[in-house]
Amino acid sequence: MTAAQALTQDAGSAPGPPALTAEHLCRRFRGVTAVTDVSLRIPAGTRFGIIGPNGAGKTTLFNLLSGELRPTTGSVALFGRDITGLRTYRRVALGLGRTFQITRVFGDLTVLENLTLAQHGLSRTKLSPLRPWRTYRAMTAAATELAGSFGLAGRLATPAAELSHGEVRELEVLLALALKPRVLLLDEPAAGLSPAERVSIMALLRSLPDELTLVMIEHDIDVLRGVVDSAAVLHLGALVTQGSMRDIQQDDRVRELYLGRAAPGGRHPPGPEGSVS
């Protein structure tokens, strides 16, 4: 926990409360502990990675942060406000957006309908019963613009189920962005993508505004390099370490976790075996 404390002190000097804080989060499923005593402090405006092999509890941690799951013990705070007891939709209203590892878009709705739904998400108009949604020009225009800014302009009338996998991952991120979140949780945005698609989604992520706090799950350290500034490493539900990417890549425990015991020293970038799957 020394690294965590160091990071905490670092962030303490920054103005304003941290974007997202987790205090001693635990989550047990029928005796199986998926997340054990995880404390995070993610300063506003940073790009933060959550790394760990599959089964490390990354997604469970995300579900605790976003509200899909309640922690068994511990608390979550968003910009200093305790949100542990708030349900997902309330957290979204406070600026916490997320994407899902197993892509969740509205398959039988068109791209335009998907994005329009997202546009109405934080507005009272989402319960508007009698006016056709197509007549909310500002909403549909914003949805169209969002689609256009990331290469889905020609696909507005296409049902999301007919998009390519890469396009679906993009739509997934756009749905979350449509709500203009202050903190965005991305669950393996590059999962299952071809190298070319991976490049384009990473470009999308790098183009996001600086003030947006990004928290990204990834089991492949390579993907995170160049995208995140600092990261936390999870293993078997517990925090192994957290700190800057440079520290993490040089951390012996992390190297052991990813490369096995026979890890050679030096600055070798983790090879394909770096992606534990």
Partner: protein, 370 residues
Amino acid sequence: MTGPGDGPVPPVSPGRPARGFAGLALVSLERSRPLIGPVAGLAAAVILFLLLQGNGFVSTLVVDMLVYAIAAMALDFLGGYTGLISLGQAGFLGVGAYGVAIAEVHFFSPWAAVGISLAVVLALGLALGIVAVRVKGVSFVIITLALGQVLWGLAFQWVGLSEGDNGISVATLPTLGPFDLNDPLTLRMTVLLVFWVVALLLVLLVHSPFGLSLRGVRSNEARLAALGYRTGLHRYLAWVITVFLTGVAGVLYVFVNQLISPSTMDFSANGLFVIMVVLGGLRSIWGPALGAAVIVLFQQELSLYVVRWQTLMGLTLIAVVLFSPGGFWGLVRAAGRRRDALIARLRARQASGPAPAPASRTPAKQGETR
């Protein structure tokens, strides 16, 4: 989406002279595209109006169809759009009907009886929704089935209130000055009017942001919650709307039949509503109205000539599910898609014709979005 005329309308080809037969066909297809829906609706309105004028068996049949169509369309709103298939609809239709009948037995005026009945249905929807909407999928089907059976059981066994198996007959219907529902023609016209009001209300609902959110609930509820939607509330509202409209159908039912007995609410009646919706086409509002018409036709007319009419109904259902999974309305939608594809083909041919006309950008396959 309720009709083939929905979705982004491909723009009429810009000022190019039509060439030959293909050009003429293209222009007429393009021009007629936005008109077909309204014209068909108007034709249906006129035909229904005329069919209800006579006092013969046709008008009786059509009125029954309209009453069931209201309940079927309401079920489509919940089952088709929101993805919550309810197997307790006959129960709520019965509550609407019994509400009127019981209130009249207890010396309330007919108008007060209508008000009481609708209030009871609404209260019941609000209260039961708290339980029913907690669950989804098969659990929801089972819970609504149980609720429907409880309501049926009350009607059957609470003899002091419901007069049990005999049912209650309603002798006098509401009157307001010259507007007298005891007059058969006025009653039929009122049913027709309520049918159109409910149908248009549902069409507006499914095209609104609220309706879009219900399709989102059905498609991926967890995602919708992550977009800031309180999805439980949306499901609850859809449930209450459907229960209330089914109660409205129940009020009309007891006016038309002047009798309500437990058999209207029995187990098979619940299934019949689901069959109407599936046969007509889920997620189309108009389709379930057609489905209701066909089922009522089977039930009341075919049964006079064919003893095994239920076998025929079953075979029809199987055939529809196999050959047009979208129900009757699926055929209408398919025709609309074929028309749009034809428009696109004709445009492409026009654009690549011999004349040096500038190739217009043709949206390849636009229009029907679902």
